[in-house]
Symmetry: none
Subunit: 233 residues, 2 copies
DNA sequence: ATTACTAATATACGAGTAC
DNA sequence: TGTACTCGTATATTAGTAA
């Protein structure tokens, strides 16, 4: 699996507690809870509810303000990311598997995307919407000829939208992140996204991949190595 | 909360185990797993993986065939239902507040729901949770065929829960009330709720509507008149 | 009313082992 | 290899209590 973020520090019981909070407060709002009430919904004692909230707090998945007669809690960005990771798993189970199988080979160009990926305006969205913080660089895949046509099928795959933004100097365009699985000789890597800039005229023959780890290392990839990219799977 | 099905008998750790199995086998297929491999994916020992599979099996959420060199497992219908319950919660957290547009026509059957609606155990809850005291009868809508499939999308709509209760003679089950708008030739009626019994096997092709007024009068409805029901709007 | 501590008890875990 | 026992130990839970 990989991915040792703060979310792994809490167990499934804590995550279920966070989910109940999110159901009540939404992802951005705050809600007043009492340990007794929360415990009842969780089928546990108020002490257990209290402890779970503390652990969620310690792990940074939840922010609390304890008052005399209860506490206001909000789900943090890290908490939202943790929940989204779970959500994406369930989606993979229940959603129609509209997947597009593409073939190609590793090509150079680890450099160009790197700069953009690591910009905070993008990185924040990756963390919140993809559920992980990508390695600051892209793996570029040069698509085989027969895959160029199939590439159009990617539009049927549900993508995660990344919004455009701007700083003082310039604007940065929006993009779409298509969930994908990368298959190489060295093994499979499940949590990959193909990132496609929305507006700019990019090279249709290349696919840029991001992932929690440096894919070249994780799969021991060599230059020009043949790959399969299962977009939407 | 209640809902004491077999699924509640297992903890969140077991459900997470079931999820991993579903990710590999799909909802219908079977997959060969080893406790050692499963334990690694779950960040636990093989003994723990073994115990979790046993408990899932005991709870009827998973079917196993243990062979000499591993075991084939499949997610049962009850297991799928348990996972779907989780999934629906995540959808409510992450999905946009959806509305489902259903079409159908007025049908008779004003009678059956009438008795239940007017029972004080329900009527009190309607007053408190829906904000009005419904006319003591339901408008039954026979759904058009294309709307039958869309009906499943209603589960993503946030409903008002009506608790079950009992008197000396019998028990009355819980139900869900989905906020809806009714559109007919005679006009629109905004404050409608589609009431769906929770447990009992009810007719999926019919939708029972309650509202502060008698809908037949308020919208001057005729038998078999075509209607639109916007659930969640 | 709350939250959260302490301490007794129940449960879960994993090493070792049998088959 | 595999599953699934037993059993000593670690962790989680909850009643009681303090603030």
């Amino acid at each position: 699996m990989s991915g040792t973020t703060a979310a792994d520090a809490v167990g499934h019981d804590e995550l279920a507690t966070l989910r109940v909070v999110a159901l009540d407060s939404g992802l951005t709002g705050e809600v007043k809870v009492s340990c007794a009430g929360l415990g009842e919904r969780l089928d546990a004692s108020s002490q257990t509810a209290s402890r779970r909230l503390q652990r969620l707090d310690d792990a940074g998945l939840l922010a609390r303000e304890v008052t005399g007669d209860g506490q206001w809690v909000t789900v943090t960005d890290a908490g939202e990311a943790a929940l989204r990771r779970e959500y994406e798993q369930y989606r993979r189970i229940f959603e129609e598997p509209t997947s597009v199988e593409l073939r190609g080979h590793v090509t150079s160009g680890m450099g160009e995307g790197r700069h953009y990926i690591s910009l905070p305006g993008y990185m924040e969205q990756f963390r919140d919407r993809l559920g992980y913080e990508p390695f600051p660089g892209t793996l570029n895949v040069e698509l085989a000829e027969e895959s160029l046509r199939r590439r159009a099928g990617m539009e049927a795959v549900e993508a995660v939208a990344i919004d455009g933004w701007q700083d003082e100097d310039r604007t940065f365009g929006p993009a779409s992140c298509y969930p994908a699985t990368l298959v190489a000789d060295g093994g499979r890597y499940e949590t990959v996204h193909a990132i496609v800039p929305e507006r700019t005229h990019h090279d249709e023959s290349q696919l840029e991949l991001i992932a929690p780890d440096r894919l070249r290392d994780a799969l021991e990839l060599e230059d020009d190595e043949e790959l399969e990219v299962h977009v939407g799977a």
